[in-house]
Amino acid sequence: MMILGTSSGWSKLKENRHQRLQRAAQLAQGKVVPADNVVALLEAVIEPYDRVCIEGDNQKHADYLSRCLTQVAVERIHDLHIVQSNIALSNHLDIFEKGIARRLDFCYSGEQGARMARLVGEGKIDVGAIHTYLELYGRYFMDLTPRVCFVAADSADPDGNIYTGPNTEDTPPIVESTAFKNGIVIAQVNDIADRVPRVDVPAGWVDYVVKSPKPYYIEPIFTRDPAQISDIQVLMAMMVIKGIYAEYGVNRLNHGIGFDTAAIELLLPTYAADLGLKGKICQYMMVNPCPTLIPAIESGFIKSIHSAGSELGMEKYVAARPDVFFDGPDGSMRSNRTFCQLGGHYADLFIGSTLQIDVDGNTSTATLDRIAGFGGAPNFGSDSRGRRHSSHAWLKAGREASHGSTKMPRGRKLVVQMVETFREHMQPTFVDKLDAWQLKDDFKMELPPVMVYGEDLTHIVTEEGIANLLLCRNDLEREQAIRGVAGFTQVGLARSHRAVENLRHRGIIRRAEDLGIDKRKANRGMLAARSIKDLVLWSGGLYEPPKRFRNW
């Protein structure tokens, strides 16, 4: 046969993988590696300049493996390229401080944002890009495929079959991208059992299993204590329910994780039910099992919830509600961030909070001196241009956006930001220029870190009312609509009173009274649960809140 190609050797990755496994042969018994051998294992299977993916989710973290990585000899292992969705633990950054890793592609850094900024400033971290979750997962299969990955799970059997527990989260794309490109998959598990409750990752995709000395690190980050919801948040939530959910018939949606959206959830069984909205709104949600959803689920509002991850304390409740949640044959929840993000992107509405909004409606949660990222919010909080199926809410929003133009009918996703005009310590939410611009300059980024772009934003809800940006005919109107709900911030004070009154007349700005909401009734008494204990009672004792949230 004639050979046209010039290359030879099509299995270099496979051969290299074989060499790595050979080097580690003495360290494992089958696939099981004793915890004490992990540093040696990492030194054996990782090579300098490797791309390594560390599972760092919202909930579970491969924290033991990432801690071991800080202990490898830097002369053997250095200049790694880390790909990781969530930089949450200090040891995630220690490897950069020590020179073990240099390049980083990630999504979100939360509490480590300030230290990250410092390390970037010192040249210890070379940031490739800050992604959304879907972007980064996509790149695992495109140009950022890991050579080695660390994942975390509840249990494994001696063959290497893995049960992730309810927090499956990022595990599937990490394992799949690594295992099918001849990479090395190392799993940290809380327990090694003869049989796992269900197989989330088949043994054939897994190279090593380590029982960590302590269970993986997990935080109840989606638990919002109803006791901390303010009257103002109740008022805003009432406006959202009556002025947006009822108006558009919003049935498929994603909620942010703040107190504002928790207030909406807790008003469904009371205020929304009183308005006769049960069965008409909020039936399908893409959201973690936030405890504040319990009353709405129990009162039959919500038909189905798919989650990116679980939430500490919600395990038994979720397992006992298989009609609502996605539970496995073993009874426990199966989450998956990729699919949750995907569903949420094609839903009818996203609503969440933010820290800053400018007069064009661009929003950002970035704060000075920190490099934090946005995780999944930009995918939820953007119009889905590829959407081809219709729904009542989507079409109505589309009609409003087209201003009666009849050319090509097309829908719009509702993207809502729900904020108080001032945050605590009198920090204005509405600003002339986002801090994101300053951040762009400070850290020489190519883009200012914007969470929701103005062109995707359809509604702003503040204590002053709702601004429907879809109905604005031009940028000037849009700006006045934003100023018209910006309260006593400088942005709000600079409004044209005449223009704002005109917008109000046209229903572009709607105050509580325009919506028929009595402000004096907007108080915590409206909430279906006012404490974590109420949530436990609603759940029939199935919800087991972490100790720090209890007052009984």
Partner: protein, 311 residues
Amino acid sequence: MNLAEWRTRESFYEATARRRITGVLDQNSFQEILGPADRITSPHLEELGFPVSFDDGVVIGSGLLNGNNVMIAAQESGFMGGSVGEVHGAKMTGLLQSALATKTTAVLLLLDTGGVRLHEANAGLVAISEIQRAAFRLREAGIPILVLIGGNNGCYGGMGIFARCCDHVIMSEEGRLSLAGPEVIETAGGVEEFDSRDRALVWRTMGGKHRFLLGEADRLVIDDIRAFRAAAIELMQKPEPLTLESMLQEHRRLAERLEAYGDCKDALEIWKRMGIPGSDSIPIMDNEAFHAAIKPYVASKETQEKKCHER
């Protein structure tokens, strides 16, 4: 859970001092004494550059309870942690003195406090002692003092001691009644001694249910202003005698407690020793289930004392 019934409840825990008072008393009967318009604020807080409150964090006055004349005070949970400063304390002392002079049916004290206001430390400490002294005079005159505890701050420090110097204590499960707060104990003895962030531990050590089980509270009610009102009506005409006999009874009760539970390190052990089946799940029981579960095993404070008396 019955949502309709639940929605009719009004949380005592969440209500302001003024609302607690108007909710506990007969409708429209409350007459405030030295109200906000009198502007009796703390000169000491002002001197230190702290915000003041027009009532210094305690609302006092008179009103009707089921048609009976009573005097009432309520500490404001949100202002300086309900703490007792000079003016705050003097208002309560003055109220008790007035109750003695006017011979009201009872005095209701809605306590919600961490104790002494440290910004006025010495004056706060003696203020509580003066409240206590005035309360004893009232008891001597046979006018019962009812303490209601169900707010965010619980009832701690000197006020925790004071509360048990009154005739009756009515608590909700959310209420806490103790001397030293969890943070103070943690600071002194380390997190191994008391993890103040472990709120379940805090409540089973100091919360309403445990206090009721020990006989430190006369009534345990749900977190509803009306439930507190009902319990207050029930107890307002039942002064507790402070006599040699009653003190010897109490002494025996406290001796028995030391004897029976002195070595326990967790409320769970105490409850188990009380013989309550399923005692581990006590924290999660609602009020009704709790009373049903403990009834056969724990005598109420009244019957405990009666039993002591019979012996």
